[in-house]
Symmetry: C2
Subunit: 345 residues, 2 copies
């Protein structure tokens, strides 16, 4: 490793001399091999790197180590605005921060499922592992995960269960099914007998689990309450209102509407309140996620609070531990959710 | 470039033979040197890569080219949830998609300003250029941009003007100042004489420009209308409501409240409506951005529609053109905004 030839620049030896360590120690710090370096030494070396303005030369550095200092984040979504979902944004932020603090970067790519195999990030070897947020029908999701597993690199999959998945796969998810059960229990306790679940057409395992949780709750209570699933073309305001309006034209008002997430529930609620239907007196409305946006809904909405940022952090921690130890210690991490009754008790 | 030694695997020669092209052509396709390859050949090579399951071997590929197939996205934000802002999420999605289609990945890192210089992404040479979304006081923003420029790589900076910046810097932004003027014109036409601008304490150039645009409008009209700036601790619902409530305790109701963005305006509006103040009869409320979320506000809000996704796309296109030609053709891209009067005319 030498400086850029075009102008005088600090070399790794200059840094080593200034920090009173060996060039190998400087190299260890630069390449993140921290098992060989004390925290105090790391700090001293970093101070001298900064002071001397040392930068690795791109054509002379140790390729084998540095190439593995990035984790790939794959977001399979049919929408080009693959970061439009606030849950995904929070997960990515939590993940990126944990990785960055350990001196890994996060390389991100969103794509429709059909483009996954040929995507740049999948053909690129420069990542040490993959994290994946995958939507779509179950067979396509599983096919995508298989593609990732085929790369023989560690994979963390968000928001789905994969019982019996390969040894080098780990899943991190919030307890969506448990959240669904909390919603079911809440509605059954209020004598709701018919629940309309409004979900986007694009399948997401988390949404499937939320609906399954409501059915669990009904089964556990031995109730005869019914759950009807209404698919909207997307989770946009307009699509949700169009689907819900069409439904209301030919069906009686259900006892409760449960949205796949808070924006879906809010769009449904506003259709109702704009028509003069009273929430929660005439119909109960429940969302999911409880991000900042749900505070803006009026009337106040019942929801389930999602630990999205912590889900991202947990994935980062699991990946870092895997890279250190060679295997995932836990195959499946489930983070708890919290029920927020809002003001519609 | 050879296959993985541990098991038989297709080599670049196998792909070349199957696609009836030279190994150099396969290498060109893999490394994105598309100026040398026809679309039909590219397709044929990619088909064979997929069919044969060819993957580059990590320790034997052409480093110099492949290392430059990623663009770094730096988000300087004091909040760890650096993707909490919907504008930033949209920009990142638009940028990532344009880059990905040209076979570049996007490597993303968020950090507080103080950590920029020592951040992994800045010390990592494997990117071909940087895009940067930078908040903070102006001197700190300029220092951050200088840091980026020091890396001698092309830089695209979002959402600020940099007149006279280095030759290898380009800015891409929406016309925030023009948006502010539209808001000012709208309010002056409705005889508003005192405007309260509610902004988060963390400075953002876009927000500064929006407020400056309102003042432009007042000056252009020769009006005596006054603009008061109220800083909230953050743009969260709770912080905005706390700051606005404290303001209202010691000041008369202003003629209009302009939020730094839609969530800020909505938090202010809900404080008013929850207190029985009528919008827009007693006070006008104007937001900024017009993303999906603003549709959920009641009463309907006046806002300015932001082309955030297009801002990201434009940045990607500018960066790709720069990498191809060696220089930025335009130093500053300004995308127009659209005024949306909502229902508060």
């Amino acid at each position: 490793m030498s400086g850029d030839e075009r102008r005088p620049r600090a070399t790794i030896k200059d840094v080593a001399k200034a920090a009173e360590v060996s060039p190998m120690t400087v190299s260890n710090v630069i390449n993140g091999r921290m098992q060989f370096v004390s925290a105090a030494t790391k700090k001293r070396v970093e101070r001298e790197i900064e002071r001397l303005g040392y930068r690795r030369s791109s054509n002379a550095r140790n390729l084998r180590v540095s190439e593995q200092r990035s984790i790939g984040m794959v977001i399979v979504d049919e929408s080009p605005a693959f970061l439009a979902d606030f849950f995904t944004c929070q997960v990515v932020a939590g993940l990126a921060n944990v990785l960055n603090h350990a001196d890994y970067t996060l390389t991100i790519q969103g794509m429709p499922g059909a483009e996954l195999a040929q995507s740049m990030i999948m053909r690129n070897f420069e990542v040490a592992g993959f994290c994946a947020m995958i939507s779509g029908p179950k067979p396509e999701r599983l096919a995508a995960i298989e593609r990732l597993a085929d790369l023989n690199q560690p994979v963390v999959v968000f928001q789905q269960e994969l019982p019996g998945a390969g040894a080098d796969i780990c899943t991190v998810r919030q307890d969506d099914r448990g959240g669904g059960r909390l919603i079911g229990d809440h509605l059954l306790a209020r004598r709701v007998t018919d629940i309309l679940a409004v979900i986007p057409r694009q399948p997401w395992p988390a949404v499937e689990n939320r609906v399954a949780g409501i059915r669990d709750s009904i089964a556990a209570a031995g109730s005869t309450a019914e759950v009807t699933v209404l698919e909207a073309a997307s989770e946009s305001f307009a699509d949700v209102q169009a689907a819900f309006a069409a439904y209301l034209d030919s069906h009686p008002l259900p006892g409760a509407v449960v949205g796949a997430n808070d924006p879906v529930a809010t769009a449904a609620m506003l259709l109702l309140t704009d028509r003069g239907v009273r929430v929660p007196e005439d119909i109960r409305v429940v969302g999911f996620n409880g991000f900042e946006a749900h505070r803006y809904a009026r009337p106040h909405m019942t929801t389930v609070l999602s630990p999205a940022y912590a889900v991202g952090e947990r994935a980062g921690e699991a990946m870092l531990a895997r890279l250190k130890s060679g295997n995932f210690a836990h195959p499946d991490h489930v983070l708890p959710v919290v029920f927020d009754p809002g003001f519609t008790t």
